[in-house]
């Protein structure tokens, strides 16, 4: 008995009972399709979040006043004032591995122009902030060093603020808008970034010199934060070390000795990297969860193959007896049923792959979920389904092969 004949026999048996064959494959089809769709959703979410994090500014390092809050301890107002302008200056001058650095002082308030007004947030920064947050000035220009030195009342508006203040589409450059009744001359408009994955409007902001926010709006001497960019992603850790050393020195924090513990940092440094890792592990968990639910349905599909193969073997007992009486050996019968199982699961797997890809795109269209189909998820689910089909096909096939031809022929 050669393999070609075995395939012919198996194909004939499959086509002789199309509905049963389809139902057998259905479990596998659904299993494979759901594995691919689920993994596509998991991977898609992961990628889109990672992309958004890197869009927020790659290699970003954020310095906040106050001790690390991850322990959940609330901080008092004094602690929130530990970050000074001098800290910013010494980090700027002394820290290595940084490509950009900007102080950050924010204030919320109302913008008014003519009859239009809109609530928004004003960010006191310097020009490096554009690099750090990957922003671009679309119209006009960014404010100058001179503006920072003089705490000039100039601003660069985000698209949303422009749209709200100038609904008729007038050119905002050179116009004077008011923020909490302080007049600001618009010198530039930022290129739109749209919404991020958490649904936040990234264009609802205005950038002004940090000196202006400190002196004219908030009247404070401390900073709410310092944002930096490391030269490369790999340099982030070294940059953080440098910054920590500089800030500890500036703040006169004592190092630990044999008898005393080191004073804790009164500032917190977080990197983009850290945030991304946190997000990644959450998304990985989600992907594993989705994947294992789908994997279970794949196994259930395999049990379906076994069940229907089992029925099929009993149903075809007489046929098996006849085949044996005309000279089929046990191995021929075994191979026939195994090949049937393999063909069904491979065909089911192929249909499942297409269905899964289709389902993933349908979900993308209907629910606007980000998807990403990885080739290994296709290969894996396909391989697993073939294995499952043959694995679960084995037992009924073995049962068929071990039948006594006389008994089988007499079977009614």
């Amino acid at each position: 008995m050669n393999t070609t004949n075995l395939f012919k026999i198996a194909l004939k048996a499959i086509s002789a009972n199309k509905l049963r064959s389809f139902l057998t494959a259905l479990g596998i089809i659904i299993g494979v399709a759901s594995v691919i769709a689920m993994l596509a959703i998991g991977q898609g979410s992961k990628r889109s979040i990672r992309k958004q994090i890197s869009e927020m500014g790659s290699n970003m390092i954020m310095i906040h006043p106050g001790a690390d809050m991850r322990g959940g301890v609330r901080q008092d107002a004094d602690e929130m004032q530990t970050l000074k302008l001098e800290d910013y200056e010494s980090i700027r001058d002394e820290a290595r591995y940084l490509s950009a650095i900007s102080p950050s002082v924010n204030s919320s308030g109302q913008f008014i122009y003519g009859n239009n007004n809109t609530p928004s947030t004003i960010y006191g920064v310097n020009e490096d902030y554009l690099t750090i947050r990957q922003l671009k000035v679309e119209d006009g220009e960014f404010f100058s060093e001179q503006d920072i030195r003089t705490a000039a009342k100039v601003c660069v508006l985000g698209k949303t603020v422009v749209d709200n203040l100038f609904p008729d589409g007038g050119d905002p450059i050179g116009k004077v808008v008011r923020f909490n009744s302080i007049p600001f001359r618009v010198v530039g408009v930022l290129k739109s970034k749209g919404y991020n994955s958490m649904g936040m409007d990234q264009d609802d902001l205005a950038l002004v010199p940090y000196t202006t926010v400190m002196k004219r709006i908030l009247a404070v001497t401390y900073l709410q934060g310092i944002n930096c960019s490391a030269v490369t992603e790999d340099a982030t850790d070294q940059a953080i070390e440098d910054i920590t050393a500089i800030l500890r020195k500036n703040h006169n924090l004592k190092e630990g000795t044999e008898t005393t513990e080191a004073e804790v940092n009164d500032f917190t440094i977080r990197s983009q990297e850290e945030l991304a890792t946190m997000m990644n592990s959450t998304m990985d968990l989600l992907t594993i969860l989705l994947g294992s639910v789908a994997g279970i349905s794949l196994v259930v599909g395999g049990i379906g193959i076994m069940n229907i193969m089992y029925v099929s073997v009993s149903e075809r007992t007489k046929e098996i007896g006849l085949r044996m009486s005309v000279g089929a050996r046990g191995i021929d019968i075994l191979s026939q049923f195994l090949i049937e199982a393999a063909i069904l699961s491979i065909a089911g797997g192929l249909i499942g792959v297409f269905l899964g890809i289709g389902a993933a795109y349908a979900i993308k269209m209907a629910a606007h979920m980000p998807i990403f189909i990885q080739w290994w998820s296709i290969i894996m689910s396909f391989g697993v389904c073939t294995f499952i089909g043959i694995f679960f096909g084995w037992y009924p096939a073995k049962k068929a092969a071990n039948m006594d031809p006389i008994e089988a022929l007499r079977y009614e």
Binding site: N5, E319, V326, D332, I406
Partner: protein
């Protein structure tokens, strides 16, 4: 039986016994059967129900092995053969015809006939098809090659089964109640076919309930209770074709 000395022995049974154990009871289906069957014989095996005819035929067809005794088919001893070897032997040397035809459902006549050759890798697809068509032409179904098994009458299905039994050019053709499901006229048509095959030199063993059929064969073995009661040569073989001609053709009404 002087003449038999010069003829080739196809089948030889030496004191073959077959016991079945049912619960703690032992059924002696065959109680020591010995005979030789020579090439070109048309042997009918008769006996009452339960006398062991089917059990004997299963031994001859290598579907089963004796509890004791020796069975030599075409020069090889079957008793000590493995399952796998017996399958190959059935494929090359045996042609089986069953009472209930046992055709593959939803499968064409020619594909049914090809089946034994599917399990013989020495036969190419082309040769297989040619031999199947040849066998179907021999049984008078040259015009029904591509009819499915469920589109045929009982007589036609039995012809397909006979073609399938012939396609591997077997040493012996075994039939168990091959006419049992057919009406008188169709039974005789099948009998005519068997006589033609006999005339062509085929060795045939035909199990039947019908004593009349024995008169159309060359030898008759009577079984009773698992033993041979009578083994007679028939020197006055009747012609099935003549008998068929005398049966009135059913009138259309």
């Amino acid at each position: 039986m002087e003449e038999n000395i010069h003829r080739k022995t196809v089948i030889e049974l030496q004191n073959v016994k077959r016991n079945f154990t049912v619960g703690d009871e032992v059924v002696h289906a065959l109680r020591g059967i010995s005979f030789k069957i020579y090439e070109g014989e048309f042997v009918t095996i008769m006996g009452t129900s339960g006398s062991g005819k089917s059990t004997l035929l299963n031994q001859l067809g290598c579907l089963d092995t004796p509890t004791s005794g020796e069975y030599i088919l075409d020069g090889v001893s079957v008793r000590t053969m493995k399952r796998r070897e017996r399958a190959v032997l059935r494929n090359r040397k045996i042609g089986f015809v069953f009472q209930n035809y046992n055709l593959l459902p939803k499968t064409t006549a020619v594909e049914n006939v090809e089946l034994p050759l599917m399990y013989n890798s020495a036969v190419s697809a082309k040769e297989r098809r040619e031999r199947a068509i040849q066998a179907l032409e021999m049984v008078g179904l040259g015009d029904r090659l591509y009819h499915k098994s469920n589109q045929m009458s009982g007589g036609q299905m039995q012809r397909v089964a006979i073609a399938r039994a012939l396609v591997n050019n077997p040493a012996v053709l075994l039939a168990d109640e091959a006419t049992g499901n057919l009406d008188t006229r169709t039974s005789f048509e099948i009998l005519v076919l068997f006589q033609q095959l006999h005339a062509m030199g085929r060795t045939i063993i035909f199990v039947t309930h019908n004593p009349e059929i024995a008169r159309y064969s060359s030898r008759n073995i009577m079984l009773r209770d698992g033993q041979i009661r009578e083994d007679t040569e028939n020197h006055d073989i009747l012609s099935a074709a003549e008998a068929l001609a005398k049966i009135p053709v059913p009138q259309d009404d």
